[in-house]
């Protein structure tokens, strides 16, 4: 599903790291502190390999960034800690400088992107520009407008005075801040000396002396301690105490403060300033989508391979069937396999569009539909990140359960890589590391509201009779909503891919109209806009956004299924996977089709359910092939129960016997040995 070039590139990265002893670990989970140390050393080494400088130095933004993303995706599959550390510490920082900074910040941007220079600045003097992105505070996450850290301009010294009014305003959860960063990309409320607040702005803020790694005076910075997963990342908190930074720290492309303290901006409201300041963080969400689909690949590969080898029960006393033969087991796994394929293709193609859009936006060219493009991209990001991360969460969990007890095994094979990443069954750590993604970089339940708001604006245009603003064509069909909403199910073949796409268009239109009606009804009851919006989320706006994302996934995936480059056999398999993912999604919304009058009687439900079982059955003989195509090499997958050799029990035996200390008497045995009564 990735292009050949990407596959070759990622394989090269994996092979190189496999040959490096630093990336081999022992057979136990390290202490949290040791996990952080290793993540940092591995990051430094990873940068020294200069993977992303090969041939990209002179490429354009899109190509360069895409290569960067492919690289970091490869790293994420191997070890999510390193890729997150890199994204926060280098690439998000560089991106923010590009979109928010000016000439005076350009040396830093170039340092971050141009290979040789990165090597010198980032590695040899790594800590001089190793960064974190400091937005979230203890008391506020989603409501960015309410961040309370201030940066007040002092015209006498030409400095900003950064201050944390109280503990609730302390920045927290900031990755790389706890122990290692030297700079923060800090978001704070900009005040001028007259006491006016101009909203959230970005500041490049020194945190630690790179020569000693000691924090500068005027800040209290610390590590947040152990988390459920991702313990290679040093998430930290920071309290600023009237901490002074130079005026030039302000990323001043869109707004600036003059030397003598006048605030100048290209925006008319602080809301616009806020939107612009945060928009470039979208890149992180796009990165998370890619990582999510790859995590699905690993989980599905492990579970399908396990199911092909594991036998249990059978038709007669002497024969047992691989559990993959059971309809129940197919139904548990194959829809997730199909979802993985659909989302992987969708996210890959969408990422290209996203980068193109950012490139156009940064170029400063005046392009007619740029605002509309940016809005549609934002709506897509805001629903796709939730769809992917929730699907990923469920995929990993179902795969873990489908591997039974062996899916609960952690343990390590000393010969294998990266204990922090995907050890033994691999599924527990996969889950714990990816779990953060449903709430970080925009809580999923909050993020989807941005999508539904955009969809409602498009619906208003439809009602107005004006054209929808959808340069990426994701909702052009709304223009036909009147006809679409009249459609009824007529007993068609539900496994037909075009039928599924049609049904989805009905679903989007119906949910959009319902959401709109609910909002209107609330407003007629005299509810304010805030309350009306809140009361239109459950069963309506929230579902709408996810259905919109599913529709996009199905549409993009179907486009790729019909790509001319595809080999006929591959196309046949992808077409079935498309049907299965589509039917599985439809099944989850089945009651809505009845509620909305699209279907009556039992036929639709009967056919959708039979269609799912039929697709599962048809995909059975392809499943291991698909799993092999999705899986990274064994040393990256690092799962004793999901290896490509199919020698499940031999591999388990090796793990059991070579697991360190497995057969030793515990050193503490005498503490629990029988004692004479008097000793108690």
């Amino acid at each position: 599903m990735a292009s050949d070039g990407v596959v070759v590139f990622q394989l090269k990265v994996w092979k190189t790291l496999e040959a490096d002893v630093l990336f081999h670990n022992g057979d136990k989970t390290h202490s949290v502190d040791e996990q952080k140390r290793l993540a940092m050393l591995q990051l430094v080494k990873y940068l020294q390999y200069k993977f992303y400088t090969d041939g990209v130095a002179n490429n354009n933004y899109k190509k360069k960034t895409r290569t960067m993303m492919d690289l970091n995706e490869a790293m994420a599959v191997l070890n999510l800690n390193i890729s997150v550390k890199f994204a926060l510490g280098v690439s998000l920082f560089a991106n923010a400088i590009l979109s928010l900074g000016t000439e005076r910040h350009l040396p830093l941007y170039e340092a971050a992107w141009r290979g040789e220079y990165v090597w010198i600045v980032t590695v040899v003097c790594l800590l001089q520009i190793f960064s974190c992105v400091a937005l979230t505070e203890v008391g506020h996450g989603s409501n960015t407008k309410k961040m309370r850290t201030t940066a007040t301009y002092d015209p006498c010294t030409h400095e900003f005075v950064v201050h944390t009014p109280d503990f609730q305003a302390a920045k927290c959860w900031i990755g790389n801040l706890g122990k290692t960063c030297t700079y923060a990309l800090l978001f704070a409320q900009l005040y001028t000396a007259d006491g006016t607040c101009h909203g959230l702005h970005g500041f490049v803020t020194p945190i630690r002396d790179p020569k000693t790694l000691l924090p500068f005076p005027g800040i209290i910075v610390g590590d947040m301690g152990e988390k459920t997963g991702l313990n290679g990342i040093d998430n930290g908190f920071i309290i600023f105490q009237q901490y002074r930074i130079p005026r030039e720290s302000l990323l001043n492309r869109l707004s600036d403060v003059t030397l003598d303290g006048e605030y100048e901006t290209m925006f008319t409201t602080p809301e616009q300033q806020l939107g612009a300041a945060l928009e470039n963080l979208s890149a992180a969400r796009v990165g998370i989508m890619g990582e999510g689909t790859n995590a699905c690949c690993s989980a599905v590969a492990i579970a399908v391979r396990y199911a092909a080898v594991r036998k249990q029960f059978g038709p007669s006393a002497d024969s047992e069937l691989p559990i993959l033969e059971y309809q129940l087991h197919q139904w548990r796994l194959f829809p997730y396999m199909a979802a993985t394929c659909a989302l992987k293709v969708f996210v890959a193609d969408f990422t290209d569009q996203y980068l193109e859009c950012v490139e156009r936006s940064n170029s400063g060219e005046s392009i007619e539909d740029l605002p509309a493009s940016v809005s549609e991209i934002h709506a897509m990001v805001s629903s796709t990140k939730p769809l992917v991360t929730w699907t990923c969460r469920d995929t990993i969990q179902e795969c873990r359960e489908a591997c039974g007890g062996h899916g609960f095994l952690k343990g390590f094979l000393a010969l294998y890589l990266f204990d922090i990443c995907v050890p033994s069954s691999g599924l527990g750590d996969l889950r714990n590391n990816f779990d953060a993604s449903v709430t970080y970089e925009g809580d999923n339940n909050v993020l989807v509201q941005q999508t539904s708001n955009w969809l409602l604006r498009q619906w208003a245009r439809v009602l107005d009779g004006s054209e929808v603003a959808s340069p990426y064509h994701t909702v052009n069909f709304l223009a036909d909503s009147a006809d679409i909403l009249k459609k009824k199910f007529r007993g068609q073949d539900v496994t037909n891919n075009e039928f599924i796409l049609d049904a989805y268009q009905w679903l989007v239109c119906w949910l959009l109209r319902e959401t709109h009606h609910r909002l209107m009804a609330s407003q007629e009851l005299g509810e304010d806009r805030f309350t009306a919006r809140n009361n239109a989320q459950v069963f309506r706006a929230r579902t709408l956004s996810l259905v919109y994302a599913e529709n996009n996934a199905l549409t993009y995936f179907w486009r790729r299924c019909n790509s001319r480059e595809l080999d006929g056999r591959v196309k046949a398999v992808l077409t079935k996977l498309h049907s299965l993912y589509g039917l599985w999604c439809l099944d989850k919304h089945l009651s809505t089709f009845y509620q909305g009058g699209y279907a009556t009687g039992s036929t639709l439900a009967d056919l959708v359910k039979e269609g799912i079982l039929q697709m599962c059955s048809q995909l059975k003989s392809e499943a291991v092939g698909v799993a092999d195509a999705l899986a990274p090499p064994d040393f990256v997958l690092n799962s004793v129960i999901g290896k490509s050799d199919g020698k499940l029990y031999d591999n388990l035996q090796a793990q059991f016997f070579h697991n360190s200390g497995a057969m030793e008497r515990p050193t503490w045995w005498s503490e629990i040995a029988p004692k004479p009564l008097s000793k108690l």
Copy 2:
């Protein structure tokens, strides 16, 4: 929801352990080996407290066991490792001896149950009878019939020779086996000298010398290494090499081998023998249900309390609302709160019935409906354990997500107890520890098949015109299925509790008939019984079993809502919780009501969804009160974000600042400091 006596008893246990420094831990997750050591020391100390000997020495089986279960539930909330260790090492062992053993095993049984004697034998000489239950093998879990460990009787020496033919037949995943047990309750295929296999039997098998904790010659025993959770338990594997144990090791109540090698049994088929051997393991499933509902209590308490304090967004620039005020947030949490209440009541009442049934069964009294009772209890256990553990999994996950990033925090407060149990947010470890429960003690997806098989047998009786065999009245309504299946939705008030129960009866009947039809259709197509069963699981038998369990939960809970002892205000709240849980369950099956012709048009869907939102809104002001009722004391809950004082941010500040090493420079700082180029 628990009786006052139980609450007082459990509080006493918690207070006692809180005062014991052994149960206080440091501020980091210990190494896996240290977790095992601590679990063992804590278990020994826990037994020394003799909590369960107080006043129960002379009670009957049911009362004694119930007290035992209440105690171990209290322990599970505090530290699941200890309670699992105890259940496997002492109580399951004792139960098995009672139901499978004879007089010659009675001293061991009494040792396990009678307080003083336990204290002497179990504690002072703890390891002499510290046990494990060895059933699962590397190659077989669910398919118990296929276990391949053999125990062959040698009439010359009057011994059984236990043997593991190959690695796939090694016992594995056996809790307590890896490092600590001295005995195994071993299940092996019994062979007589003539080469006849008589099926799976239980043997009390010595594993380690209690004086040295070294394994006896003739076995290879080891620890399985790190798992995703529950790392205080030493899960192990064992390979027997022609290992000899005395003839008296056989638990011979139901079947025996004479001194000269004749096999005698009260059963006519090996299947019956297998069923009898394994039935007593049901107790573990009942215990898991209790633990699951308690885990839900902890998760819900944390998330509701957090939501009451955490503010985000608001109607105007200056005001922010607690997130509990948002309909979306209520809809995310309150159904789980309602599910927790329903399941907690259901499991508590069912546990009493279960123990009564076991007591009658063990008493040897000839009671007319005993076989029917045992079967119905088995059907209930086999669907309730899956319902509870899956609901628990989803509850913990939703609660973790509803606490945003702070729900991902692990970390420890040095002042608090049991780092292995519920640290900091508490939710990550809660999930990792309870995750095992969906696949252990009977994989959920396999277990539910036992329920549907029983239901299908009852359906066959209905079709025959004979009475259903339901001494616990869970399916008496099947007798009226013809009328029930004719019912149509007529626009009633769906929040009405009786309506919900009626709708559920329709659902059970419809799914049962559907499953039966599918089986008939398969058999008419010439499919064998095995294949027909397998192809009737998805959308049919599997859903049926879960719906049956939901119906039981709703019925039992409703009975308790109508108990005369209830205070009027409490009853009002419970009634709403019943409606909410019922509607939330109905919503998940909504398409089936349309598919089956129970409903047409939008009304049912509209009303169910509105009903859910209405109940959420009505429960808002009660939510914190319900959470407080569900929560264990703070030192047991051990969650920095879920404390009863509501001082979320003060508690977080204390955690951040006192987290050990939080503000220290990493000891490894110089490894990542800038180096001159030549050093690279």
